[in-house]
Symmetry: none
Subunit: 268 residues, 2 copies
């Protein structure tokens, strides 16, 4: 028996929104620790994973490890049925291929219950090596989203260059070229509006703009985002989910003259 109740169904909605553009189906791996998920986009260029600790749920019960294969389009439909402040409970009996989703309104006056067919999803679980990154940039997530969106007007590739002074995003295409610079400044009142660059070594890498735009759909999850860069290593884009866990994207840099994006599993 698996049962997990989250006070804010909206949180799960945001997580789903953050995945939807990247993957169609995903396995939730549920254990006594909590819920983990790892999924690759269909072209094997990007990987997304998230971790929700059991501490974020109340109650949380997972008698034995269970994998819930979800069709995200279905889950999106279901989650649209949640009220803004509804709680959400996920429940699955062992040896069934069904997930029960239950929404409860704050005042308990309305409950909505859904039964969703589970899928059997082929999965390749990649171990992601811990790296010492050349640069770790933290910036407001809204700023990152804005930059990705703005630069998407200027070509398919987005260059991220980190120096001790800050970080520079650039792109160029038919209509012209664009370069956006953020200066490091940690002296700001609000921690969430900081831009910080932890630099071991200056680094400049090129990525597919389209994927970065998709990644930034996770913006509602956190007010800030961190980018971890290292040559010939997938970029990590991480959104912390307060008190519960995190959501991370991985994207291999484009390499060489043709600036093709490498498959992420070519870079292991």
């Amino acid at each position: 028996m698996f049962e997990a109740k989250l006070a804010q169904s909206s949180l799960l909605k945001k997580v789903l929104d953050a995945l939807r553009e990247i993957v169609e189906d995903a396995n939730l791996d549920c254990s006594s620790d909590g819920i983990k998920c790892q999924a690759m986009d269909s072209s094997h260029v990007a990987l997304v994973s998230f971790d929700l600790s059991s501490d974020g749920f109340e109650p949380y019960r997972c008698d034995r490890n269970i994998t819930l294969g979800l069709k995200l389009a279905t889950m999106t439909r279901v989650l649209k049925c949640a009220g803004n402040d509804d709680s959400i409970t996920l429940r699955s009996q062992d040896n069934t291929d069904t997930l029960t989703v239950l929404f409860e309104s704050p005042n308990q006056d309305k409950t909505s219950q859904f039964e969703v067919k589970l899928m059997d999803i082929d999965t390749e679980h990649l171990g992601i090596p811990e790296s010492e990154y050349s640069a770790v940039v933290q910036l407001p997530s809204g700023e990152f989203q804005r930059i990705c969106r703005d630069l998407s007007q200027f070509g398919d590739s987005l260059v991220i260059a980190c120096t001790k002074d800050g970080v520079e995003f650039s792109g160029s295409g038919e209509i012209g070229s664009a370069k956006i610079s953020l200066r490091q400044h940690s002296m700001v009142d609000k921690e969430d509006e900081q831009v910080t660059v932890e630099l071991n070594q200056p680094v400049t890498l090129t990525f597919s703009t389209r994927y970065l735009v998709s990644f930034s759909k996770a913006t509602p999850l956190s007010s800030s985002v961190t980018l971890s860069l290292k040559a010939e290593t997938p970029l990590v884009v991480e959104y912390r989910i307060s008190d519960v866990g995190h959501l991370r994207y991985y994207l291999a840099p484009k390499i060489g003259d043709d600036e093709e994006t490498e498959h992420i599993d070519d870079c292991s």
Copy 2:
């Protein structure tokens, strides 16, 4: 070398929005006086021009006269990348076909720089004769926009009739007819909400509603607008841009039974 910095990039954005529906490409004529622009719509029915005095820029530098041929769709994309309170700097070296656009955030922590290819645009510079108008109407720009939009539901033609008492806008079409009257009243608290009619002679003229609706896209530039009317003379719709200059549209009245809009250069 040409360089002009405007504290409010939003001002230039509004100017572009005011042109976009009328013309696709436009030449900015830059001199030590400032930046002027004059462009005709593709069917030669309407003309738009604006004047931005060098006083509105700081710094402003224009070593020698230079014409910047802009594709407005490109400039629109670039200006979308500006933050709300960013300054904007336009810069062009002599003998290049490139315009540099630089946005700087108020706190200087973010800068965005764009390189845009300039165009070579055929231009016919019309001299616009000064006229003694039969009537000059001033009204709140939002009111004018609302009236144009409302009357656009009632036919392609919009009649403007000025008398000593005020101004009357009317239209009629298949679904019925509409007449909107504004009484002159200069006794209002706020000058911007006044409706005034300076009348030399009562005048009633008919215009293409569609163009007037387009003109009223300039509403964000000024809280009031003036309409200058005279028989057989292009209507002038003027928005003052405080401290910097103005933007004007010209539109020949429809004449005769068929109520065809005359080409503006037929009326010189």
